[in-house]
């Protein structure tokens, strides 16, 4: 079978892509320290356990991202003649599902706690020979736990937009979930200290709803991408401007009367066909080549475009 030509990233985008990969490694490293710190302060306490499990599950999108990045790089082979660019879309689905899972877990766990009227019990802990209320330690650890996700999420968003990186966007949503559960747990433990036993579970419950909303939205989009939904942008979920740009580029080629595109997303890339109605039957192959080049040049994401000539009046 014929294999596709490998996609070559434009230099500036490739740089951003490398940066995204570095950010994901940084996420794994930073969140591992968060998980370790929370574990140390955790003891037997239920109150911080939820935040801890949330942070562990929160590693999933980053791991999926890095796996996909290494797979995607391989390019087309004999076994995978179309390349493995879709690995990125699969990573998006994995990351989105993990976010949804975290939300559902938080909802269930804290719903049960409230129904069972679970009173969080937090006693003294010893720090360097001093006895302090464990709640203070937990709040400090949680305060630390929200710093890395806030920074990482903030750095990831603009890159995700620039390089059309949906799994990176899903991971940024997970970071939002990370810091929100951290803040929620701090507010909750502070409330428990004021004698409101329900404060911790209630705060987490409210936050879980926001996380579930994010998760559902991303799962839906990820499934759509894998089912060849019409290409959408990364953040606002609008129709992708490359659709219009490609059509315009095809129409502007000399000798093309009319053109239409049929595109789908393949990870970072957009691929598909252009249907072109030529003005006459001169130099057909040369014109079709020009159409392909013009379309592929109209947006950096457009890759492996097939141009099909159509009869007059069929568009």
């Amino acid at each position: 079978m014929r294999t596709r030509e490998a996609y070559v990233w434009p230099k500036d985008k490739a740089k951003l892509r490398r940066r995204a990969i570095h950010l994901e490694w940084a996420t794994l490293a930073a969140m591992s320290t968060v998980i370790a710190v929370l574990y140390l302060v955790l003891g037997n306490a239920q109150a911080t356990r939820t935040a801890w499990i949330e942070d562990v599950l929160g590693l999933l999108p980053a791991i999926a991202y890095l796996v996909a990045a290494s797979i995607e790089r391989r390019g087309p082979t004999e076994r995978f003649p179309l390349g493995l660019y879709r690995a990125v879309s699969i990573a998006y689905l994995v990351g989105a599902t993990a976010t949804l899972l975290v939300g559902v877990y938080l909802l269930a766990e804290n719903g049960i706690k409230l129904l069972e009227r679970e009173h969080p019990t937090i006693g003294l802990m010893s720090v360097a020979g001093h006895d302090v209320w464990g709640g203070w330690l937990m709040m400090s650890a949680l305060l630390y736990s929200i710093v890395p996700p806030v920074i990482l999420g903030h750095l990831k968003m603009p890159i995700a937009r620039e390089i059309h990186d949906k799994p990176l966007m899903a991971d940024a949503a997970m970071q939002k979930a990370d810091w929100m559960t951290g803040v929620g747990a701090i507010v909750g433990i502070a409330g428990v200290g004021l004698g409101f036993w329900w404060a911790d579970a209630t705060a987490a419950l409210l936050i879980s709803l926001d996380i579930i909303r994010d998760g559902v939205r991303h799962v839906w989009r990820a499934m759509g991408d894998l089912a060849d939904r019409i290409p959408h942008t990364v953040d606002r979920d609008k129709l992708h401007p490359a659709i219009g740009a490609a059509t315009k580029a095809a129409m502007s080629v000399y000798g093309v009367r009319s053109a239409e595109v049929k595109l789908r997303e393949e990870g970072h890339l957009l691929t598909g066909s252009v249907y072109a109605e030529l003005a006459d039957e001169e130099e057909v192959i040369g014109r079709l080549d020009k159409v392909r080049d013009a379309v592929e040049a109209s947006d950096w994401r457009l890759y492996d475009i097939v141009v099909t000539p159509v009869h007059r009046g069929k568009l």
Binding site: H119, T121, G123, A190, G191, G193, L194, G195, W197
Partner: protein, 161 residues
């Protein structure tokens, strides 16, 4: 970002409220400590020598002694009742008792159902049981036990002989 700002302001507000109300923090949801001060502690004994023993209707044992001292440090007294482990734990869960002693260990399976103090004898896993969530009460007891650590060590050494 707007959401983050709203979150932050709620958060800052709560912290401020905390700092201004710093004495008697953490609080008990059901006021156990306040009731014990100058009042009566309802305590359960689960027979387990030498920690908690019922002897001719009289409560004895290392932990019984400690709880009596704790009560008098709060200006109150103790009302003891003897019962089996499961009954005592159920009574704690419904807050019919304020405290149960019986030579419990940190690793006992009750630990997820009631509140345990931290291990109060260095080098062992001995704990006392309190109702869940009564955090002021719990840390008052833990603070008392920490203060009397050396006496407790003497008591247990005595009992071992």
């Amino acid at each position: 970002m707007r959401k983050a700002a709203r979150f932050g302001s709620v958060f800052a507000g709560l912290l401020l409220a905390l700092l201004t109300a710093c004495d008697d923090y953490p609080k008990d949801p059901h006021g156990t400590l306040a009731r014990a001060q100058g009042g009566t502690i309802e305590a359960g004994i689960v027979e387990n020598a030498p920690w908690a023993v019922r002897d001719n209707g009289e409560a004895r044992g290392i932990e019984v002694q400690l709880v009596e001292q704790f009560a008098s440090s709060l200006g109150g007294k103790v009302e003891w009742s003897e019962m089996s482990g499961p009954v005592a734990m159920r009574a704690l869960k419904t807050r019919k008792l304020d405290l149960v002693v019986g030579g419990f260990l940190q690793t006992d399976s009750w630990r997820s159902e009631v509140g345990f103090t931290r291990a109060y004898i260095p080098g062992t896993k001995h704990v006392m049981a309190v109702p869940k969530g009564e955090n002021a009460w719990l840390i008052a007891l833990e603070t008392f036990l920490r203060k009397h650590e050396s006496e407790i060590l003497d008591l247990t050494a005595e009992a071992r002989q």
